[in-house]
Symmetry: C2
Subunit: 161 residues, 2 copies
């Protein structure tokens, strides 16, 4: 059984174990690679975010957050971030989390979902989001300093709900 539910305080360790290696690698998220465990967790479960976990047989394999991408007149567009545990990649968890988030976003009254910064070298993610209905609506030239590829473009991806 595969289940996606709201994160609870008891998930802190599992969430940290998933997000910290992704942050440390610095290849897909524009986050300080030196964030402490506490800072990383505080970012992922910040007060303006709803955070979910994907679990199978009680083991947390992935996590995602949702938040309004802007305030005021931009509140009807949400933003999400997804991370899958290194040992669980290739099992469709990111896809399942994104599908879940699209349903949840509609239920919350959001009218669109926006990804602000999809690193262009993360081709697997770009293709996955496209297969789930997102379009590349913007290209940010050399906006990301990749740890091995140097300066690469980032995409803005968007989907009306």
């Amino acid at each position: 059984m595969f289940n996606i539910r709201k994160a609870e305080s008891r998930d802190a360790g599992a969430i940290t174990a998933i997000i910290l290696p992704v942050i440390r690698e610095g290849a897909t998220y524009a986050l300080d690679t030196n964030l402490s465990k506490a800072e990383a967790l505080a970012y992922w479960i910040a007060p303006d975010k709803e955070t979910f976990v994907a679990e199978q047989e009680g083991v947390v394999l992935g996590t995602y957050y949702m938040r309004p991408n802007q305030a005021g007149g931009g509140r009807h567009v949400c933003n999400c971030g997804y991370m899958t545990g290194a040992a669980a990649t290739g099992r469709g968890i990111a896809r399942r989390m994104c599908e879940h988030s699209l349903i949840h976003a509609r239920s919350q009254g959001y009218r669109a979902m926006q990804f602000n910064f999809v690193v262009s070298t993360n081709e697997r993610a770009v293709k996955l989001w496209q297969s789930l209905g997102f379009e590349i609506v913007g290209r940010l030239p050399a906006a990301f300093s990749h740890p091995s590829a140097g300066y690469v473009d980032a995409f803005v991806m968007y989907q009306q709900l």
Copy 2:
């Protein structure tokens, strides 16, 4: 004499008097229109921002901020916000502030400047930024709820430095 300098604590009142009407109007910035004075000021002079004022004969006519648009691998791209006092519009103050910001951004080692959310109905701003070298690199469909125009597009604008 027209002068642009770093904001100081004594500018708090003048900055608030400029930004609060723009925020209350809710037509150009995606910010909660109900922000208190203290919240508005805290947003504009947040710890991750450098804030400047444009003054003439000791009177503050405009203000802008600069911050890294992303952390980590995205830190080399800055983001700015500019506001001009209602009584001082049409005098080229926004242009002067943007020119100043481009010079300051280069001096700080930034490699690009990005505006994440330029409301498409703000045609004057769009044209001004274009005249200063920015390109529309993305269009966010119906991403902004305008107080009178309804749902309108927003632009992502970008310039490499």
